[in-house]
């Protein structure tokens, strides 16, 4: 980080200081999107203090504007840049920029969803958006981290605001319990991660990821490196809800307010994967054959995660809990794609297929959560019984949910299939046929619970009589919102090239 000289009177100290200031000055210009987010956070807090509670929900527009602005800045300024910033603390490469846009997209949809969520109606929402943007900022740092310190800061900056967000509806017992479990579990996981990273720092002598990478690649068989990395992995696995650090997910997803569940399920997971990819790329890429222990470990984790997620989802009655286990399973599929990290394939490298799948996953999961919010707003029910007969009560909503479920299964011509196909291809190309077979079996198992939701929507008798006025559910704006996401899912699934052309050119730079 800061080069240190021999003594205080050493002239090279002044030079070192000069150099580091120069580095910072150059980097600030490129750091504008994050600055926009930071400015928005401060603005939101101030405005929230000034506005009366009833009107604080309009601060959504400020948050949305910040998100869109940051997105535009990234698109125009940073899409072709590949360089480290701030003396190697962060790196901006095409992979980071792509993930930033994905995160912003997810955040924008969640912000819009929070605007209409029933349980947020009589609350002060300014600080909600501020905290969400703070978490988003942390995700940005996670996606472009190039230094062990940034790993720590990023993970914590994401986690701590999200602890608060989960408990935002603080009088709700479910949210409270979820929040407690989340904060205790999450702090433990990040503590273990920080300890592991400290061991890595000790082994390497530097916090810069490039130095750490050189060291690990040279010592892939070392026991200490393995232990340190496993401990670090605990933190990453917590963020992506991989087995065996997935226990928090069902409870937290179920108890938290649904927009926050969506935020955790999509944005937090994307950031977690970004961080994991950076770490793995540093540790494994370019090592070739000797990295197979690591890749085998990832494969085993992937297989376990998929299987546990799918098997546990089979008998869930609560929709949010079912989606929680489903997202655990999808984390498993993405881990399966990660065994291709370091592969020489041009379009199916590990980070590329995961990046593609994150786009597909974003649309289908957020779509499913939009439908969940719509049903909850109209019926107040989160369990499967609220979805009975949805095919007749709100055909458009049921149809949208069907498409999202089909995409989650992975049937063509949806985005889920395009993504899953690439994950399988990456695994097979890297020689992990057994893993692909397990993935296939899991896909077949997952059909059962996704189809069960479809069956409930179309085949079951609705809880309300057809003649009663409450029969028809008019989801108004949310219906069209879901429709737009359906169009996105189908578009990505049919015109795969639209996204694949971009992911084809994603590279990871370790500076």
């Amino acid at each position: 980080m800061i080069p240190l000289a021999e003594s205080a009177t050493d002239p090279s100290l002044a030079h070192a200081f000069e150099r580091s200031l120069e580095g910072i000055r150059e980097s600030v210009a490129l750091f504008l999107p994050e600055a926009v987010l930071t400015g928005a956070i401060c603005l939101l807090i101030v405005l929230d203090l000034l506005m009366p509670k009833r009107q604080s929900r309009f601060l959504m527009f400020v948050a949305l504007a910040a998100v869109v602005g940051a997105g535009a800045l990234i698109f125009f300024m940073r899409s072709t840049i590949n360089q480290p910033l701030f003396n190697g603390l962060i790196v901006i490469d095409t992979f980071a920029s792509f993930l930033h846009i994905v995160l912003l997209l997810g955040a924008a949809i969640v912000i819009a969803l929070s605007y209409v969520y029933r349980d947020f109606e009589n609350r002060r929402m300014g600080e909600y958006y501020a905290i969400m943007l703070a978490s988003l900022l942390g995700m940005f740092l996670m996606a472009s981290a190039n230094d062990l310190l940034m790993f720590v800061i990023g993970v914590e900056l994401v986690s701590i605001p999200s602890y608060i967000l989960v408990v935002y509806t603080k009088e709700d017992r479910a949210a409270t319990e979820a929040g407690l479990k989340y904060v205790l579990y999450g702090s433990f996981a990040s503590g273990v991660m920080i300890y592991g990273l400290s061991l890595l720092y000790g082994l390497t002598g530097s916090t810069n990821l490039a130095d750490v990478s050189r060291f690990i690649v040279g010592n892939l068989d070392s026991f200490t490196v393995a232990v340190a990395s496993l401990m670090a992995f605990a933190g990453f696995a917590f963020k992506i809800s991989a087995v065996p650090f997935h226990w928090w997910a069902p409870d937290v997803y179920q108890g938290a307010p649904t927009p926050i569940t969506a935020f955790l399920a999509v944005a937090s997971k994307a950031a977690g994967f970004a961080l994991l990819i950076r770490f793995l790329d540093a540790a494994v890429a370019g090592a070739g054959e000797s990295a197979f222990h690591w890749l085998n470990a990832i494969a085993v984790f992937a297989a376990l995660t998929m299987t546990v997620g799918n098997l546990a989802a089979l008998w869930q009655e609560n929709m949010k809990r079912l989606l929680a286990y489903s997202s655990i399973a999808h984390a498993g599929y993405m881990l399966m794609g990660l065994v291709a990290i370091g592969s020489s394939s041009a379009a199916m490298g590990g980070h590329q297929v995961v990046a593609f799948y994150l786009v597909a996953y974003l649309f289908m999961t957020l779509g499913a959560f939009v439908c969940v919010v719509a049903v909850y707003n109209l019926t107040g029910v989160e369990s499967m019984s609220g979805y009975r007969g949805l095919g007749r009560r709100s055909p458009m909503l049921a149809f949208s949910m069907t498409i999202f479920l089909v995409s989650l299964i992975g049937l063509p011509p949806t985005a889920g299939f395009a993504g899953k196909f690439q994950l399988f291809a990456a695994a097979i190309n890297s020689g992990y046929l057994w893993l692909a077979v397990i993935g296939g079996i899991n896909t077949a198992i997952s059909c059962y619970y996704y189809l069960r939701v479809m069956k409930v929507m179309y085949l079951d008798e609705p809880a309300v009589e057809p003649s009663s006025p409450a029969f028809v559910l008019d989801a108004q704006g949310l219906r069209w919102f879901a429709g737009v996401l359906v169009a996105a899912v189908l578009l990505v699934g049919i015109m795969v090239d639209l996204v694949a052309r971009v992911t084809q050119h994603l590279i990871i730079v370790t500076g």
Binding site: V152, E177, V192, G205, T207
Partner: protein, 105 residues
């Protein structure tokens, strides 16, 4: 005597603290006690960072800087966690972690 205290001693101490903290988290049922365990773990990590940085041959102070950040982060985390525990107490009238089990299906 001070010359005999080397890197290994610090590492062993921090490992012990880590162990005690983990044990506290796993064994104790009181949420505050779990938080104490978490603090112990974070401090063990910070100690590690400082120790490695102090005995490093590279002449850089990276570990010290990370340790500063870890301390700040630990404080923020503790504040938020305590607020959440307080909220839990308001709803459940207890700080026992096992008392929150309504979500399990």
């Amino acid at each position: 005597m001070p010359e005999d205290i080397g890197l290994a001693h610090y590492l062993i101490v921090s490992a012990l603290i880590f162990g005690i903290g983990s044990a506290a988290i796993i064994v104790r049922r009181n949420a505050i006690a779990v938080l104490m365990g978490i603090e112990l773990i974070l401090n063990a990590a910070a100690l590690n960072f400082v120790a490695f940085s102090r005995y490093s041959t590279y002449g850089k102070l990276d570990g010290h800087i990370v340790a500063l950040f870890v301390i700040v982060i630990a404080a923020a985390e503790a504040a938020v966690a305590l607020a959440i525990v307080l909220n839990f107490f308001n709803n459940f009238s207890s700080v026992n972690v096992d008392d929150g089990s309504e979500l399990r299906q």
